[in-house]
Amino acid sequence: MKVSYFETGRYVLPPDLAREWPVAPASYDPETGVEAFRNMVERVKFVEALGFDWVSVSEHHYSPRILTPSPVVSATWLAARVDTIKIALLGPIVPVSNPIRVAEELAMLDTLAPGRIVVGLLRGTTNEYLSYDLNPKESRERTDEGMELILKAWTEPQPFGWQGKHFQYRTVSIWPRPQHQPHPPTYALGTSAEAGEFAARNRLGLGVSYGTFELMAKATRHYRDQCAHYGWEPGPDDIIYRANMILGETDDAAEAALARRDGQAAFPVRPGLRDALLAADARNVAGERRPANVGGVLPISFCGGPDRVIEQLRRCREEIGAGVVDLSLHDPGAGDTDSMMHALELFGRKVLPRIREL
């Protein structure tokens, strides 16, 4: 099993910050931001030294919970400062992006850091469509088309035009092309039937996140069925599971930390807006209709001391089929960085060496 550390920027929150998304820029402190990104680099060097395989970065907007609106900027900065760890961009939110820009930037990054870039392409969370004024009803179609166009821009050797439904270009002809041919290792991120089908048809990996093992297993089973339909079989590295973990020295210590967790969303969306967003967006897991997550609380999938967590990771490997786990060893946005660093060190020492063979 491979392990990825999900880096979120970890801006230290002022105590009196209003807990509502979007968060007013007036509350932002530039020096705290500088410090957050300085520490980001130190953390990534630390997890590299611990033996983590990847560090992942993501795209989130309008709040300090995850301080990285541009995964390409995060990844480029990190790639220049560490040596061996792979940088996983999980990933650009495709429906709000210019797909040609995404293809160009990722190809450039793949060339700057050859062999070290991993790409995830995703639909994103509903509330963050507000950031770039995207109609949630169009997000599914724009994601599907945008992902198709990104792959085509990476791989087509001749200049081409794209007569799409949501995107139109008369000339696409990117330089540089990806260093890794035909393109860097790429995952469709999502649990939907559409994400599984797209990944299978294009021989991509699949990344699922936060759901229960049972539910995520349903999504990855659908993906594997689709891969079989297209005549191939995904390997362990083709499935990523992103999740939260609370790791303690003992099970009791981890349970105590879990009990201290306040269980509140860091920056919830106002109820009226949340309901309207839920009504405007339709989601599914392997074709079964599920409500979108609109700024809600993310569950803890792994909790315990090293032995128990290893057993949970074994179950994750068996049930979901994930050969890569992408972990937050704390809720993103939680302020207690010292305890997270301790958990990271503990993970590197007591867990990582024992899950390689899973």
């Binding site: 088309e145 085509k152 001749q158 200049p159 081409f160 035009g161 007569q163 439904k165 008369r170």
Partner: protein
């Protein structure tokens, strides 16, 4: 725009056509399945005098045992256009008709102002590619990306099917036609090649071969369409075709407006 039927004599054949619209002539040569009118014809006829030929031996026309090669067929179709009193014209070819159109442009380049090739079958993959056949349902699954949206193709008379199949097999030529490709290298005619991203008859990757060979060629991929682009995404097909015929290589300059409020 209502299309009306006509007939023209050329090379000893009586050739049926459908025509509508005013403006510069746009001649269309159909695929191996024969003439099929699509919503794109209606859209194009708003700007062009669209003439859709039924090539000799297809549809209800008599069995064509005389035409031996694509070159001969292209000469016949050039003569049919002449017989309508048209000297210069835009030429559109679909699949099998794309190869006829390329030969016609290669042999009479001064007459063809621009070429539009819809999923052309002039260059086929090394693994080979059989023209779609079978029941209307099977045909739809080959030709359309989304057969569930369009339903089966119209049933074809088995006699007509057998007759045209024999003709296509005789004329289609090798998967890579060295003589044609040699001609294409020197053909300066502005050419637009369109492939659906979900073409299950000719792989859309074949599009790059035309782009690499022809000196004045533009390749456009039509997202979410199969082999029958003009049926599945008629507005997208007609928009890019019209724009290309109007502006040729300058069609790459966007005229889309993004101003929301002045």
């Amino acid at each position: 725009m209502a299309f009306s039927e006509g007939f023209v004599e050329a090379d000893g054949f009586r050739i049926r056509f459908m025509a509508a619209g005013d403006g510069a002539p746009l001649v269309h040569l159909h695929g191996a399945g024969g003439m099929r009118m699509t919503p794109a014809h209606d859209l194009l006829s708003q700007r062009y005098r669209v003439i859709v030929f039924e090539m000799p031996g297809f549809g209800q026309s008599p069995d064509n045992t005389r035409t031996r090669t694509m070159v001969e067929l292209s000469d016949t179709m050039g003569a049919a256009v002449t017989a309508l009193g048209i000297e210069q014209f835009n030429l559109m070819g679909t699949s099998f008709g794309g190869k006829v159109a390329l030969w016609l442009a290669a042999r009479q380049p001064q007459r063809v102002q621009a070429l539009v090739l819809e999923a052309p079958a002039a260059i086929r993959p090394a693994a080979g590619s059989r023209p779609p056949s079978g029941t209307p349902e099977e045909m739809a699954r080959r030709i359309y990306a989304h057969p569930e949206r369009l339903g089966p193709l119209p049933a074809v008379d088995p006699v007509v099917q057998a007759k045209t199949r024999a003709l296509v097999d005789r004329l289609r030529g090798p998967d890579r036609d060295a003589e044609l490709e040699h001609a294409l290298r020197g053909l300066a005619t502005p050419t637009l090649v369109l492939f659906g991203t979900l073409d299950r008859v000719i792989p859309p990757d074949m599009g790059r071969c035309y782009k690499a060979l022809m000196p004045n060629c533009h390749l456009v991929l039509v997202y979410d369409a199969g082999h029958a682009i003009s049926t599945e995404r008629p507005e997208a097909f007609a928009e890019v075709t019209t724009d290309y015929l109007e502006r040729h290589e300058a069609f790459v300059i966007s005229r889309a407006e993004t101003l929301i409020h002045p």
